[in-house]
Amino acid sequence: MAPTVIDARNLEFLLYEQFGVESLTEHAPFTDHSRETFDLALATAHKLGREVLWPPFREMDQEPPVLIDGRVRVHPSIRALLRECGQGGWINADVPVAHGGLQIPRTVMTAFRAILAAANYSTSVFPALTAGAAHLLASFGAEELGALYLPKMYAGEWQGTMALTEPQAGSSLSDIRTRATPTTEGHYLIHGQKIFISAARHDQAENGVNLLLARIDGAPAGVKGISLFVVPDRRPTDSGLVDNDVTCTSVYHKVGYRGAPITQLSLGDAGDCRGWLVGQPHSGLRYMFQMMNEARIEVGLGATAIASAAYHAALDYARHRPQGRPITSKDPAQAQVPIIEHADVKRMLLFQRAVVEGSLSLVLQCTHYSDLAQTLQGDARERCELLLDLLTPAAKSYPAEQAILAVSQGLQCLGGYGYCADFALEQYYRDVRIHTIHEGTTGIQALDLLGRKVVRDGGKAMFLFLDEVGTSISEARGVAGLGAHAAQLQAALDRLTAVTQHLTGLALEGKIDLFLADATLYLEVFGTVAVAWQWLRQAMTAERGLERDPSEADARFYRSKLSAFRFFFAYELPKVEGPAARLLDSDGLTLKTEEELFA
């Protein structure tokens, strides 16, 4: 039977008690939904997780995809999930009605995807990739182009992919070389190589639809010359699907996350790979960033989901594994105690919870801004959009970086067994490692946060963030028992403000290299403060819950929430001090370390 991989009560707590997603249904465009719809949607996700995603979880790791006769053989359960998601309306669930969707709030669908990702992250990415590609096509493609592809993608029959990276152009997308040559028939002929393309050319979908970046012949150099194309594996014609000269040349061997293939594609080997332009020429990167920003939040979610599954596995082990005796009573005649009784094991478990539930809250905070923006106009809408934009790199990177540490502590709880394939922890440890890398590495997220989002428009988004956190701090000051924590977060926020002023000062002096040299440390401080803010919000929600005369089970839940909150403020929030001190120093140590000094 499938084990617990995610805490359903915590999802309810965040969705309904903290973010109040029910109140979204009072406003267009969400009025067709209700709490009942959301509950049934989540129940479906739990059932899919238990019955479709979990059973082949280990098997997919042991027998990763292989390239056979040009197709990538993946696990057959992927067809079952794509079919269920297609027929169930889950691929287009949060798409606007105008684009053929059902417009369920993104926050609810994010919880839905968290449940699937916790059950089996590899499988969960297939429908998510199709959803991302379809959303891009629906948002920017011509209506006739969308009509050819979207119904099949929404139905789960055609797999969507994102084809950006090339051997010489990974983080540096401006160096893309794939060519698109115009023809008189409306399509372009595509030539080039793509690498690291997830879920391409696999055998559990009827067709693949690659959303691909390329340069139209004669396009300007750099990012301003990149266009977006639809390049199907097999192109739809009046006489059915015709091979479109998209060749999978290899499947990468990966550390983890092995159920989902990452492939290398060769386009136009026979000179007959056709692509259709999406939107305007040379606007591809701007379009792609809509998808990319959504995908980054999904990555934060994926990291959180794996860490959640690992936490529950470690918790189960810690409760059942007798080992050792209390440090104050070493009588060998006494029975051994379950290891959860040891303070150090409790610390490891609390750390995992602090990361998992703090990260989940931050991710849902982002999607909630995205949903709120849909219901608002003017300045109020812009405020939500700016906050979403600013928080996205943190909602990607904090979970991605911390989940690695959290899963590592989960593995540690199992001692020697954690390092062995007898338990799932070693797989979670390998699976979770991807998230600091894909959809923009942590380094890229840091440059995006500090170099772009913090300084844009005179720091407008940053001031909004300080205001949001400040409002929560003021509220918390009025809640019994939270005053000291409110003060602690205020001090950390002041520290972040001081660091930001110092760094932007360097930028104003024109010392751009110094300004950005330790951007990753800045992201670490920013992310930790953002998650501390989420924990303070959760603590207030839990305190409110306790005041409502809860059932015994609910009271226990709220108390456990508060204990993880106190852990975060005691053990994690103080960690901003180290990087903050370093950032305020700016002696340019790394910049000054010449290549030859790396002995």
Binding site: T37, L40, A80, E552
Partner: protein, 276 residues
């Protein structure tokens, strides 16, 4: 075809360790239990949906499926979930769990059947909480309708059903005429176990479980009719005819023993465990 599906809620069997018995032993403590529909009743719902569709085009409904449950207001969650899965409407008979026994449920269902006049009543072969296996048979008796229990396969024929029943040592095949009561077993949800009059030869469902509720249907579920009736209006002053005397948790598992050789093992199996 019009089908009435009877659903009972049970404590989530995956969380059986949450079932608590107070010291007095007079009842089950239901506080904090997670409820879901009895799995066998869910199979009955899936069977009803398969019997009222062409598996190749399941969006076109070819009959009516009415889901019924007896219980407090919170059981409407289970009915909404049945509606989202594909039932057309639902009826809740308002009562509490401790005011019911199998005989009362069968009597209430009899009245509902007389009002609704379905061609077929479907339910699970038993419930997984008390392991009771009673209501289907009692209902058929009260209605004086033909009955087939433990159905593993069902094929629709003119005016009735051909039912394959799982029995010790094989399959017993019965032909029942409408209207009838059928209770279903686990294998009824195998890909080719249920054939409606529209099911093409050789068709198999691509799954072997209860179908997932699609989002459009989830959104419609809250608009589908859900009627509430009072138990007393159906069964008058009828009272419980069975009474629970005492509840006891199963004894905790005892520690095992080591045997020194096969001989001792065989001897213990024969004399102590009486397994051979």
């Amino acid at each position: 075809m019009k089908i009435l599906v009877a659903l009972k809620r049970v404590a989530d069997p995956a969380n059986h360790n949450k079932v608590k018995i107070p010291a007095a032993g007079d009842k089950i403590d239901t506080a904090g239990l997670e409820w879901q529909i009895n799995p066998f009743d869910l199979y009955a719902l899936e069977t009803a949906l398969r019997l009222t569709e062409d598996g190749k085009a399941p969006k076109t409904r070819l009959g009516e499926v009415v889901a019924v449950t007896l219980g407090p207001a919170e059981t409407e969650t289970n009915l909404r979930s049945a509606l989202a899965t594909g039932a057309d409407r639902a009826i809740r008979v308002d009562t509490t769990d401790d005011a019911l026994d199998g005989r009362l449920v069968a009597a209430a269902l009899q009245k509902l059947v007389e009002e609704e006049k379905p061609d077929l009543v479907l339910m699970g072969k038993q419930v997984v909480d008390g392991e009771n296996n009673y209501v289907g048979q009692a209902l058929a008796e009260l209605l004086d309708w033909p009955m087939a229990t433990f159905a593993a396969t069902i094929k629709e024929e003119a005016g009735g059903l051909l039912v394959g029943r799982e029995v010790d040592g094989g399959v017993s095949t019965l032909r029942v005429k409408f209207p009838a009561v059928v209770t279903v077993d686990l294998r009824i949800v195998a890909p080719d176990s249920v054939r409606s009059s529209k099911t093409a030869e050789g068709f198999k469902y691509p799954y072997e479980e209860v179908r997932f509720a699609p989002l459009p249907a989830i959104m419609q579920a809250k608009k589908k009719p859900l009627a509430v009736k009072k138990l007393a209006d159906l069964v008058g002053g009828a009272t419980l005819s069975s009474k629970y005397v005492k509840f006891e948790a199963p004894p905790a598992r005892k520690a095992g023993v080591k045997v020194k050789d096969v001989q001792e093992l065989v001897q213990k199996l024969a004399t102590e465990a009486k397994a051979i």
